[in-house]
Every structure is written in structure tokens, then in C-alpha cells.
């Protein structure tokens, strides 16, 4: 292995990459401060947030402190206004080499997943991807729990001989702390200077839209469809049932990949969202663990599947073994009537 020059013991403290877009912190960063706080307390060490951007400090430094950061490393420069892998990765490398954190957690967003591996390769350290759980042992070893084989198995990943121990963590899996008004983090301003030629990409356009519907992770009722739905035509049935219930529509990865679900944002499970509705109804979903870990916090789970051996039936409170095309029209009618009775 490539030699790391510093000793492991020199690496101290827990870091969280506080991703911001347009000066707004992403929720996943706050979630990571929540679990980072827990790890830092257990290790009796410090929790720091790393914030890169331009003119964002005033907007978010207080927020980082109030959600649990003891310290904020602030890198402010016009070149950091919009994310680009070169400047972000180079600056993270410099920061790590100077301040030597033991753990670095990054949200598994598209940008986090672009940045983290590049940083890990620059440092020559280990990186666990799409973690859904984190555990720290007495001697400071981070066990990152990651789904494998589409989530049918889980693996605990360690990084025993390298620092920092890096992990990207799926949004929605960690819990942010209650905001503690007035809790202050100290700010370490880090000078940003990079040679022009080290930045090799140019962002010519950024497009992003506001979410049109309630984010699925906040929905109280969810109707979700999987590969078993079979076609875009059939998918309308899923949507109709959702409309009747005033529910959000969810989807498994195959259904998103097939283009039935209109948005990646509807995807539930590993590399998608974790949901916690009162009622979840899954249709044509076999129930690989990949999806199940995303729905396990639902209050009541209903599954409709034609295969009596589909794993989701065991993970559900109520199961219906039937062709969804026979049953869903009845559910649509039944729920509609139930609504009118009120």
C-alpha cells in the first residue's frame, strides 16, 4: 500500500462535509452532524463541519453549530461558488493533510459521490460507499455498514490502517439532532489559493428545479410500484391509487430505470430515499432488502404481489397475493367510497 507518512494516532476528530447548494445546506449534512456528534462524544473528540462555497458563511455557519458542530472549517472563494471536482478535491486534500481528521463523512449525493472517491484516491485512504449505518468501536475504528448485491446482503467495512476513515452516507438514514439555538461553533478560515491550471473543468450551466410534490421522505401515505407493474400503461394504476389516497408515488430502482416513475426522486431504498409514512402500499415489488431497508420505518406496510413467495410479504403487516390488475381497481373504488363516507 502507498505509504501514509503520518501515524494513525495523529489523526483526531470527526469531520462532516457540509454540502451547500446556492447557499443552502443540504439536509444530509445535518443528518451527518447528528451521527457525527454521537461518534465524537463516544470518542471524546471534536466534531467539525467542512464548508466550501462563496459568500455562504453568514447564511449557514450558525446553523452548523446549532446542529452539533464544534468547529467549522470555512473555505470561501469565488472559485468554489459552484461545485467542481478539481478545486473541491484539491482543497479537501490540503485540509486533510494539514488538520488530520480520523473520520470524514460525506453525503452520498451526486456531488458527494463525485468528490469523495477523488479525495480518497489523492490521500490514499479507504472509502465506503452508500453507507446506511455507522458504528464506532472503542479503539476508534469506524465500521461502515453498506448494502451489497443490490442490498440482498449487508457488509461491515473497516479501514484499519489508513486515515481518515472515509464514508459516503445515504441521505435519510441518519437522524439530525434537535436544533440547539445559540450553540456556537468556532470558525477556522482557511485560505484558498489554487493555480489556475489546476482547475480543468468549466461549468457553463446549472439547472435545478424546485420539487413539484412533497418530498417522498415527508409523505404520510405512499403507494409504491416495482418491476412487477410491467409497463408505463399499468403504472397509471399505481398513480391513480395514490391520487385517491392523497399519497405520494414511490418506486423501486427497476421501475425508475424502466422510466415508469417520472423522477429519480421517487426512488426508495439504497441509493434512493428512506421513507417513514403511516401507510405504505407496495405493488409489484418483490422486496429485495435494498428496497425494504428504505421502508422499514413505515407504520403499516401493505404488499400486493402475485408471487406468494415474494420476500415483501414477510416484511409486510398485511399481504395480498393476487395479480395487482385484479385487485387495485377494487382498492381504488373501495378507498374512494371510504373517503366519501366521511
Amino acid at each position: 500500500m502507498l505509504e501514509q507518512t503520518s501515524k494513525i494516532e495523529e489523526y483526531q476528530g470527526i469531520w462532516v462535509f457540509a454540502e451547500q447548494r446556492n447557499g443552502k445546506l443540504l439536509e444530509v449534512g445535518l443528518e451527518l452532524l447528528g451521527s457525527g456528534r454521537m461518534i465524537a462524544d463516544k470518542m471524546a473528540t471534536e466534531l467539525a463541519a467542512v464548508l466550501l462555497g462563496h459568500n455562504v458563511a453568514g447564511l449557514v455557519v450558525d446553523e452548523l453549530g446549532e446542529y452539533g458542530a464544534d468547529k467549522v472549517y470555512l473555505l470561501d472563494s469565488p472559485i468554489l461558488e459552484v461545485y467542481r471536482s478539481d478545486p473541491y478535491a484539491l482543497l479537501m486534500q490540503g485540509l486533510i493533510n494539514q488538520y488530520k481528521p480520523a473520520v470524514l463523512l460525506i453525503g452520498a449525493t451526486t456531488i458527494g459521490m463525485d468528490l469523495a472517491p477523488r479525495v480518497a484516491a489523492k490521500i490514499g485512504t479507504g472509502l465506503s460507499a452508500h453507507c446506511t449505518g455507522l458504528d464506532i468501536s472503542g479503539n476508534g475504528q469506524l465500521a461502515a455498514i453498506v448494502p451489497a448485491f443490490g442490498g440482498s446482503m449487508m457488509a461491515a467495512i473497516l479501514c484499519p490502517n489508513r486515515r481518515p476513515q472515509m464514508a459516503t452516507v445515504c441521505p435519510g438514514f441518519m437522524k439530525k439532532n434537535e436544533r440547539e439555538q445559540g450553540r456556537k461553533a468556532s470558525v477556522v478560515r482557511v485560505e484558498v489559493s489554487l493555480p489556475q491550471e489546476s482547475i480543468r473543468t468549466k461549468v457553463v450551466e446549472v439547472f435545478s428545479e424546485e420539487p413539484k410534490t412533497l418530498p417522498i421522505e415527508l409523505a404520510e401515505t405512499i403507494v409504491a410500484g416495482g418491476y412487477g407493474i410491467g409497463s408505463k400503461e399499468n403504472w397509471k394504476m399505481v398513480e391513480e391509487l395514490a391520487t385517491v389516497l392523497g399519497a405520494s408515488v414511490g418506486a423501486t430502482r427497476p421501475a425508475v430505470d424502466e422510466g415508469w416513475a417520472s423522477l429519480e426522486e421517487q426512488m426508495i431504498g439504497q441509493s434512493g430515499k428512506t421513507v417513514h409514512p403511516n401507510l405504505y402500499i407496495g405493488i409489484g415489488i418483490s422486496g429485495v432488502i435494498h428496497h425494504l431497508i428504505g421502508i422499514k420505518d413505515s407504520k403499516v406496510i401493505v404488499a400486493i404481489n402475485s408471487d406468494p413467495n415474494a420476500p415483501i410479504l414477510k416484511a409486510a403487516d398485511y399481504g395480498i397475493v393476487a395479480d395487482f390488475r385484479d385487485i387495485v381497481p377494487h382498492l381504488i373504488r373501495g378507498f374512494r367510497e371510504a373517503m366519501e363516507e366521511m
Binding site: 500500500m1 502507498l2 471536482s85 478539481d86 451526486t110 463525485d114 469523495a116 472517491p117 477523488r118 480518497a120 484516491a121 485512504t125 479507504g126 472509502l127 460507499a129 465500521a143 451489497a148 448485491f149 443490490g150 440482498s152 446482503m153 449487508m154 457488509a155 461491515a156 467495512i157 473497516l158 479501514c159 490502517n161 480543468r200 461549468v203 450551466e205 446549472v206 439547472f207 435545478s208 428545479e209 424546485e210 404520510e220 389516497l245 392523497g246 426522486e265 439504497q270 441509493s271 401507510l279 432488502i289 431497508i293 406496510i301 401493505v302 406468494p308 410479504l313 416484511a315 403487516d317 398485511y318 399481504g319 395480498i320 385487485i327 377494487h330 382498492l331 373501495g334 378507498f335 371510504a338
Partner: protein, 271 residues
């Protein structure tokens, strides 16, 4: 336009239709995947398709490279049948059990040995590990920029690309000069099916097999010793609930379900 040289990294993965046959060895804690057919990781096929399309627009060469056990030749042959011009297999016992860092280092070393290249393409993530880490890490070891989540590629002049990179609820349009590594998503194209002629021609195309010594790697940086991450344990997790199956005619089942949900007080307030 001058000819372009494209390298596509492809990963052999167990065919997901057979994943239920993958078992856990209780003694070693390792996964047993013997006898499970391998395929090209799906997004790597999109990467290859994109390479072939770029080559069809301007003269050039497409080389596929893969690291894996000797049977990886099968997927390299399929890639040649799709239209790649040459294939390289990195195979050596010492490459085994590599994590993404050690894998990226070995692949980058193989790509360096190939010589001049303008583009490195690969799938944004693999079907099995799904880490999405190898692309940026190969780029780092080659000292070239990378763009991930790519779903559109456009040359605006012979050295400059405009690529569309997906972000949550939107995209970024990024300009970058070659050489660059691009990790592509499924939306970028529809991979072709090899033609019969392609399958026949594949047998005539060059296929090189290189060992660790052939590509001059630092042995401490490949395989298990070169992998900073270790799998401490693998376990199947279970999400289990009461699993009460409601039976009867559709009307009956619907009535039962609504009753249950009402009793649980989970029906939305409008109901």
C-alpha cells in the same frame, strides 16, 4: 477531425438473474459465486456504446480493458463483438480481492501501458458493488479530470467536450478538454446488441492478457494488500413483520384491508 483513442473500462459482474445462488461461506465469511454466469456490468455497456458512437463520428480506436479472473475473457469478447477494436485483460492472482482504490490503481496502470488515450469511459457504478468510486479514482491515478453522472456527451471542437452531468432535480453542463474520464448513466444511450458479423469478427481482434508484472505495478498497491478497506463481515439482514395474508375475492380482500387500516388509524385523513 483527428482520430480519437478511447479506453472503456468494463467490469465482470455476476448476472443478477442468478444472485439468489450467491451464498455466504460461513467459515471464511466470503461470498461464493462459483458457477454464476458473468456479464458486462450494464452501465459499462452504455459506456462502450458511447465510445463506439463517438468513434463512428470521427476516426479512432476503442479499446476495452477489464480486471478479473481468466474467464473475464468472455465479457471482453462480447465487447469486441459489440464493436470494440481491441481488448486487454488484467489478470493475476495478486490483483484479487482489490477494493476500489486498488482496482483503480491497477486499471490506471493498464491504461498507461496502452499509451496515448483521449477519453476513458466507464459506467457510473457497477451492478454488484454499486460504489461508483472507480471512475474518479482511475482519473486521479491517471492525473486527468473526471465527470460523473454523465448522460450526454457532445464535442464542441476536436479537443473540447460539453457533458451533461446529472444532479438532484437538475443537471450541470460542464466543459472539459481531453483527456478526461467520464462515468456514464443509463440515460446516455441504448447499447447495441452484437451482430452476427460482430461475433464472428470478434475472434479476429487483438486480445492481450497482462499480469501485474506486465503493467509494472507496485505490488503493495494492488489486490488485498493494496486495499485500505477491509470487509469485516457480510450478513444477510431481515426485515420481518407479521405478514398476515388477506384472502378471498378482490371485493372481500379490499373490504378486509380497509377495515384493518381503519383500525390501525393509518388511513389518510381524507378517508
Amino acid at each position: 477531425m483527428k482520430p480519437i483513442s478511447i479506453v472503456v473500462c468494463i467490469k465482470p459482474v455476476p448476472d443478477s438473474r442468478h444472485w439468489e445462488k450467491i451464498t455466504l461461506d460461513p467459515e471464511t465469511g466470503l461470498l461464493r459465486r462459483e458457477g454464476i454466469p458473468i456479464i458486462i456490468s450494464p452501465l459499462d455497456r452504455n459506456a462502450l456504446e458511447e465510445a463506439l458512437r463517438i468513434k463512428e463520428n470521427r476516426d479512432g480506436k476503442v479499446t476495452v480493458i477489464s480486471m478479473g479472473p481468466p474467464n473475464t475473457v468472455e465479457i471482453l469478447t462480447s465487447a469486441l463483438a459489440m464493436g470494440a477494436d481491441a481488448a486487454v485483460l488484467l489478470t493475476d492472482r495478486t490483483f484479487a480481492a482489490a477494493d476500489t482504490l486498488a482496482t483503480a490503481y491497477a486499471l490506471a496502470s493498464g491504461i498507461r501501458k496502452l499509451g496515448e488515450y483521449d477519453l476513458v469511459l466507464l459506467g457510473n457504478e457497477s451492478l454488484d458493488g454499486s460504489t461508483g468510486q472507480v471512475g474518479p479514482q482511475v482519473a486521479e491515478f491517471l492525473g486527468i479530470p473526471h465527470v460523473t453522472h454523465v448522460n450526454k456527451v457532445n464535442f464542441i471542437d476536436e479537443d473540447t467536450l460539453q457533458v451533461k452531468s446529472r444532479i438532484e432535480l437538475g443537471y450541470m453542463m460542464i466543459e472539459v478538454k481531453i483527456p478526461v474520464a467520464l462515468a456514464v448513466e443509463k440515460e446516455i444511450n441504448e447499447p447495441r446488441i452484437p451482430s452476427l458479423l460482430g461475433v464472428v469478427q470478434a475472434k479476429e481482434k487483438p486480445m492481450s492478457t497482462w499480469s501485474a508484472n506486465d503493467i509494472g505495478v507496485d505490488k503493495a498497491r494492488i489486490g488485498l494488500p493494496g486495499s485500505p478497506t477491509q470487509v469485516a463481515k457480510v450478513f444477510a439482514i431481515e426485515v420481518k413483520r407479521r405478514g398476515e395474508v388477506l384472502t378471498g375475492e378482490p371485493v372481500e380482500v379490499t373490504r378486509k384491508l380497509i377495515e384493518k387500516l381503519r383500525a390501525e388509524r393509518v388511513l389518510p385523513k381524507v378517508c
